[in-house]
Amino acid sequence: MLVPCPWCGLRDAAEFRCLGESVTRPDPVGVSTQQWRAYLYLRDNVAGWVTERWYHRMGCRQYFLVERDTRSNEIRSHPADGRQPR
């Protein structure tokens, strides 16, 4: 699979580490234990298009977002600038 790094272009997936579907980290102050653990453990795990974070480990060492269809592994750049990875 080729991953579209916003800085380096399309590179082989072996150069990267995938961090999984992009989840919003709750504010740790004031969050309930239930909500915190939902953030830690529950996932949508969608069979379809997902926004996920990748890290270009053997390259520019930047984190970024992409969109991927988990059924076909078709992958595309994040529509908003993937360089803002949160």
């Binding site: 080729l2 980290r25 830690l40 890290y55 803002q84 949160r86």
Partner: protein, 959 residues
Amino acid sequence: MTAQRRFAGRTSAVMSERLGAQAAEVIDRDTSFTFTWNGRPFPAYAGDTIASALAACGVRVFSRSFKYHRPRGLLTASHLDPGCMLQVGDEPNVRGAHRQVQAGMQVRSQDTWPSLSYDVKAVNELARAFLPAGFYYKTFMSPQRMWPAYERVLERFAHGGDAPTADDVTPGRYDKRHAHPDVLVAGGGPAGMAAALAAADAGAAVMLVEEEQALGGHLRWGDAAELPQLDAMRAAVASNPQIEVLTNSVVLGRYDANLVAVLQRGLSQVQERLVKARAKTLVVAPGLIERPYVFAGNDVPGVLLSTAVRRLVNLYAVKPGHRAVVFTANGSGDAAVTDLERAGVDVLHVEDARAGGDLVRVRGRGEVKAVELGDGREVQCDLVVTATGWTAPVSLLTMAGDVPRYDTRSARFRPDPTGLPPDVLATGGVVGDGTLEELRAHGAATGREAARRSAVVASQRGRQSTSTVGSKPSVEIPALPVSDHLELFRSRTHGIVDFSEDVSSKDLYVAVAEGYRSAELAKRYTTATMGPAQGKLETVNVVAIVAEASGRTVAETGTTTWRPPYAPVTLGALAGREREPIRRSPMQPWHESHGAVPLIAGAWVRPDHYGDPAAEARAVREHVGIIDVTPIGKLDLRGPDVSRLLNLVYVNRWSKLEVGRVRYGAMCADDGVVMDDGVTGRLGPEHYLMSTTSSGAAAVAEWLELWLQTDHPDWQVHVTPVTTAYASINVAGPRSRELVARLTDVDVSAEAFPYMRVRTGTVAGVDGCVLWRIGFTGELGFELHVPAAYGLHVWETTLSLGADLGVRAFGVEAQRILRLEKGHLIVGQDTDGLTRPLSAGLGGLVSVDKDDAAGLPELAWQQQYGDGPRLVGLATSPASVVPPEGSQLLATDGTTCGRVTSSRLSPALGRSVLLAQVEASHAGPGRELRLRLPDGRTVGAVVTDGLAQLDPEGVRARG
């Protein structure tokens, strides 16, 4: 001529079946040599395959079938021939009809005992009625304890080549290569060659891959009138500098984004080479594979496909038989008749399926004796040729996403072009039929279009996405006609469907009747298509017969799913050369030449000890020792916001650390589990040096970057991994201050350089060094970080300057003993994947009074609820017992309450020292537990007061 004599082959191996020169032959009659077959010498010409050389001498039986050990001969005379899997030297499962024979080659039949002719296991055939497919599911069930014995019996019949011997003395050399062709053409027949030429003319760099020894596909053994065109195309390809040709090579698979794996064989320098080609476009031109016909006796030696016969006659000048009956439904069968007559074979009868003819049964055991036709007539013959249809080898296309559809009119599964991604095209026989001109025209247009698309892909790969083809007008590819073909899968008798697995159509009927009705279930139950050809010869017949048996159409019953590799590939070729690097510190040469026993610690090799770890530990406690700790993770942190980052990632408070000070910190992830620990020192107002565990160095660097890039891009912090930029030496022991003073210009007096401080300066004449006072071993000690290039110099200087002080090197094992005597934990050994700070003895370190920190809510929750085990020290009784790490701890009622995480014999104390994870309710000081040793005995273990069992006040380190 009795069957037995035929079985044994001619007593004198001469080429009795070799014909005169044929126009397209590939043998070189001027170069002949001998090889052995089952121990007997046979002649061959250069260019012969093993099968053709043997067939030229009249050999007709090459193997025994898997389950029933029936004699088998040639069927397809191609790479896929199931009757011709042989052992060559120490190489099992060699395709005899494809492998070229070499002088002196030792070839044997596989799995025949005592010999090919008189195989004892053929007795199975008598039991055939009682051993249908899947019979083993219905028996051997009880008594259960007999299963191992039953299994040994079944294993006796396991079919395959010799197992490798444990000490293989002929390691092959394998290699890999990366390629980036614009267009990769899989298949070197007329359409493939036309595509390659057209793509090259359009400016593309082309790689053309062909499975056979030479380009040409079916032209090589086809209509002799087309040979001049073949020669011209070959010459054009050979002279085109844009085309790289790989023959005797096979495309193994097409992976995501056109990563194409090609296996190159027949090389001189290496056994095999795996070419990993990232093609921009892929043109698939594999031609067609001829299908066998299913009828009673269709596996008797002497039943061949029309393409087999044409290959034998035209390529190898071999007469496949003497009196033939040909059953034909298409032009290939008709052409086979012509070729046979030209070869002097007496074609007794041509049975035309298009006129309603059929074959029902072959008579004969070791060889064909007669054939029964559809109308009941019997013809005595020794050769039966069938031409009943074609299978499109769509595997590469299905790997690219194509879902083939069954076309009743042409009686085959055909690719669906709309299912292909834009960077994959198909041409030639796999797409349709046609004259040579039509195939070439289709191939050329496809090649031009492939070149056009490759240019688009090239520009896309410089950009962001892998989709869409572009706006330039595409090349119009003329449609190939598809000839009608009769649907001929099975006669009205039952015969073998999968030759390799010995599965008959009757087996498939039985499977369907027993409820295994889907094509997949029928295949699994009977093991049809699980053999070396992986379905290429048999899948369509299987699907058709399952359809027939279950009253459905072929289209309803299933499609063909193909998995890589397209052809079997050796583990050696896939592995290539070993390329897993190992890290060595600059002092490693010194360790090796001083008798260090190596310890592989993750990516590093380290000295475990130099012969006597206990003595090394004693030396540290009594005088001074030095240890190479270069693998410790080191991160250089700079910027005004470093302390905010430290406060975020460490569980303790880090908002104020003065310049020159060092602090210990532990890190947790958002789940509150201890992830790493180390010390961080402040070298300047905006300059820090962080240390991590050796195995966590990379992970921590990525972790810091994650926070900085995703959560706090506004913070100014630069993180630079410097683990290998510094060689690190820990100098420890009561005389360490004296020794370090001799090395450095830094003032190392107790007043000027207290415990947990960091200084920079010169060491052994080397500038830019960092020194800090920490106490992992519990002794007075200094850790020196010197620029790596000078590591060995500093190491050796330290040893020579400290000789009179009794300095010696100590290794990882001694360090483990020393730190254990002091109760210092090792993350990943005394903690595991669930250990939280409280369970690591770090509860006191945790500060939850922060705006944000990794795992903050979990840390707060732990403080409130405080559950989980505790890290404790243990004293065993008897005190000399040193239990293995991992030993279980039991409460007085016998229930498990913990485990030993660290355990050593302490030279300083003369007894064992232990750390353990114990349930909180059993972790109070003085608590008595039982410790279970591996042999089942238990000894006593008492929880100590505090973790340190030596110098609990920590006086020695702070001196």
